[in-house]
Symmetry: C2
């Protein structure tokens, strides 16, 4: 009898047992390395040093693990975005703050980004809708920031705001394929370079 309440509680600090935490960490690492389909439940429980019974005690399914990963990623991004918007900065500073924050956050949680970019459409319909709705919210908020800057005249209107948004956010989603934590450039430096590049195009 599964009494799962599927609705994710918003912004409530969720208590997690140590076992639960270990399972999620192992799943994230393995999904990032081998992909969702390439990772077996057996492999996850072995890496987390727990048993299958423990995993299925805390999670409904393998899909459930994937959803938890996506949800924590997107929740964090939306929280960061709202924190910047709340500061009421002028468009140029706001776009720069959003982009550098997003790039730094993505670099710090690169495994989650990798899983998301590769297996984003492996969820069942209900969970997929939830994830997509959050993503869309982020996309629209960013585009409105660009539109506002274009209306105010501080941004060039040569490229439609929608296209700017697609390029800027798409570039971040692509980070797992080129960002290396042990690479020659720090995440901070890359964030500045990339944000500067995007803002240069908007001059």
């Amino acid at each position: 009898m599964t009494e799962t309440v599927p609705v994710p509680e918003s912004s409530a600090p969720v208590r997690q047992s140590a076992v639960e935490r270990r399972i999620l960490d192992a799943a994230l690492r393995l999904f990032a390395e081998h992909g969702f389909d390439g990772t077996s439940v057996q492999g996850i429980v072995a890496a987390a040093e727990v048993t299958k019974g423990a995993l299925y005690h805390y999670f409904d399914s393998k899909d459930d693990l994937l959803y938890e990963i996506y949800h924590s990623l997107i929740a964090r991004q939306l929280a960061d975005l709202r924190a910047v918007l709340a500061r009421g900065l002028p468009p140029r500073d706001a776009v720069r703050a959003v982009l550098t924050g997003l790039i730094r956050s993505t670099a710090e949680h690169i495994d989650e980004a990798k899983v998301f970019s590769r297996d984003k459409d492996r969820l069942d319909d209900a969970r997929m809708r939830s994830v997509r709705a959050d993503r869309r919210r982020y996309h629209v908020a960013f585009r409105e920031l660009v539109e506002q800057g274009q209306r105010d005249g501080v941004f060039s209107a040569d490229t439609p705001a929608e296209t700017v948004t697609i390029v800027a956010l798409g570039m971040v989603n692509q980070m797992p394929s080129w960002y290396r934590p042990d690479g020659p450039k720090s995440a901070d430096r890359l964030a500045d370079e990339v944000a500067g590049f995007i803002l240069a195009a908007l001059r």
Copy 2:
């Protein structure tokens, strides 16, 4: 009793039987829709309306299908790139031509791009090296184009050429997640907008 006449392709460098072609088309479609691991060999032969024996007659393994898809994609991109370079255009025109061509080509073969972006590291070591070497060649050629423009002073040197290359090509790799063939904007228009945006940043 469909009399499949092996019409000789006059200009095609590689001869393929009709059966071979159908298998590759089906594999491409299914890989793009469900991912490599999410697609079974049974599913491919069913979609191609051939038998398993036929598939393993023409291909060594499931991996072999994936490699064929990657190889044709990258070979086409490299050929396009070289064709542009051979024209000896000034950097600004060359970058524009490369980018618009790449975007249009990617839009036209969006399924291949989708498979590549999702399952690019599912190959065995030997084939992986071959694919990566070709990709790197493209990357370096593009970066050198940007560097030349920066040396000549027609491009801003505010952003390192390597970062410009990462952003520009990474954005193209991201196309499968936002480009829709039946969307409101044509591939040509998108190519112009995006190339214009990148060139604006290089002013």
